[in-house]
């Protein structure tokens, strides 16, 4: 025992170093697994508040751009409003998007685009009704999914993440279903996976969200096709797409609250139980 203590005392520098490094690797592996990551809370209000203060300062230099964006969005909403009020009332009675989806506006207080896994922090949290697994969109297209919530802030896993996996449709091609991933390291381009070989893709074809997910409403813009990447084995092709959202200059986003989410969750659980 004495020898052990003497050994520790003699080599305390190296031992402390090893202990700290092992601790780091343990923390790292805990957060590298998607399912475990969901259980660890790394979003906290202090960090959020500091980022928010920084954003406030930065915003003064961007007021012009923010104003322009808001004006553009206003114009878009006015156009859409005109269309909606013109259509017959019957359509709205069958499916009223307003009652299924609620959009909570939030501001981006911090975001990254140049890491292997990117996150966005927004200034709305549990107190504002944000929960895990809610979809996040911008005026240009889909942005990501909420993975972590603190009382007043939330972390969003952006599309620029190795776990990002979104069900999409190729709009001009028989509404073919495919999966959107991020396999490049460039924040502007993503990959659409699982395209049947018989499909002819054209540059500029639109990629939108499918109806197979209750995180995002149907038909939200995801990006446009850049080029087809033929599969070496000749089975399912991939395509390089350009995201419609500019992740490097995100300012205002909307969190999508599905009003029937609790109901859907129980349905899914029942379904899973029956399968077991």
């Amino acid at each position: 025992m004495y020898n052990l203590l003497r050994f520790i005392h003699k080599h305390h520098f190296v031992i402390l170093f090893l202990v700290l490094e092992v601790l780091c690797v343990v923390m790292l592996t805990m957060t590298q697994n998607y399912h475990r990551q969901k259980r660890i809370n790394t979003t906290n209000d202090i960090v959020g508040r500091i980022y928010e203060t920084g954003t406030h300062v930065g915003d003064y230099f961007r007021l012009g751009k923010i104003n322009r964006e808001l004006a553009e969005e206003n114009a878009l909403l006015r156009r859409q409003l005109a269309v909606v009020t013109d259509t017959t009332q019957g359509y709205q009675q069958v499916i009223n998007v307003d009652t299924i989806y609620n959009f909570i506006p939030a501001r981006v207080v911090n975001s990254t685009v140049n890491r292997p896994n990117n996150y966005i922090m927004i200034d709305k949290g549990r107190a504002d009704g944000i929960e895990k697994d809610m979809g996040v969109i911008s005026t240009d297209g889909i942005v990501g999914i909420v993975t972590d919530v603190s009382p007043h802030y939330a972390s969003v896993m952006s599309l620029l993440h190795s776990f990002s996996n979104i069900s999409v449709r190729l709009k001009n091609n028989d509404e073919q279903l495919a999966t959107l991933r991020w396999e490049t390291t460039n924040y502007r381009y993503g990959t659409v996976d699982g395209i049947p070989t018989h499909l002819r893709l054209h540059e500029g074809d639109t990629v939108v969200t499918s109806s197979y997910s209750y995180i995002f409403p149907e038909n939200l813009m995801a990006g446009t096709v850049m080029e087809l990447i033929p599969s070496p084995s000749g089975t399912l092709n991939k395509a390089k797409i350009k995201y419609s959202t500019d992740f490097a200059s995100l300012k205002t986003v909307y969190v999508i609250q599905h009003t029937n989410k609790a109901e859907l969750d129980t349905l899914y659980q029942h379904q899973n139980q029956q399968e077991l």
Binding site: H12, F13, L16, F17, L20, E21, L23, C24, V25, V26, M27, L28, T29, M30, T31, Q32, I40, T42, N44, V47, I50, Y51, G54, N110, T112, V113, N114, R115, P116, N117, Y119, S155, S162, T185, N186, Y187, A248
Partner: protein, 174 residues
């Protein structure tokens, strides 16, 4: 006590500057300049090793909390603190540190700071990008990032050290 207070202020200012300013620099996505390493670089030279390790770990962990990379920066700064005595010995040669309490621009010359900064940044970046690369299986890319980020960080750190070195301008060239 004064020195202790000074280090706390340096800790806070560097973390704020890192997360609010420097993290927004992205040239092509490969450049990751880290200036918060200055904190570990300027710790007193004769400080007990275990204290250097713990302080290095602490600033790395705080940065990790901000960046959502739990463990990566902490691992890299701990490695940096561990290698620091060796690096100082390596870059100093026969230089004596009898009356130098912490690295400073008045008592040490530019070539010394260049060698010291480069080695420290390299150890940090190497550990950081390896931790990042191994967890994502992108080792080739990690190496490319090291190659680009080390010179940029070294340049930024030296610039900051010169800007904030209090008596440098008064004394002029030596």
């Amino acid at each position: 006590m004064n020195r202790f207070f000074m280090n706390i202020v340096r800790f806070i200012l560097l973390v704020i500057a890192q997360v609010l300013l420097v993290n927004h620099i992205r040239l092509g996505g490969y450049v990751h300049p880290y200036i918060y390493l200055i904190f570990v670089m300027l710790l007193p030279i004769n400080m007990p090793g275990w204290q250097q390790l713990l302080l290095g770990f602490a600033i790395g962990l705080v940065i990790d909390f901000f960046m959502g990379t739990l463990g990566m920066h902490a691992g890299a700064t701990t490695m940096m603190a561990f290698c620091r005595p060796g690096i100082i010995k390596l870059v100093s040669g026969s230089l004596k540190f009898d009356n130098i309490r912490e690295p400073n621009m008045e008592q040490l010359d530019f070539p010394w700071f260049l060698r010291y900064t480069f080695c420290m940044v390299f150890v940090h970046n190497f550990t950081y990008f390896m931790l990042e690369g191994f967890s994502f299986h992108l080792v080739g890319q990690a190496l490319l990032r090291i190659l680009i980020s080390v010179p940029v960080s070294t340049f930024l750190i030296l610039m900051i050290l010169y800007l904030f070195s209090p008596t440098k301008k008064v004394r002029g060239e030596r």
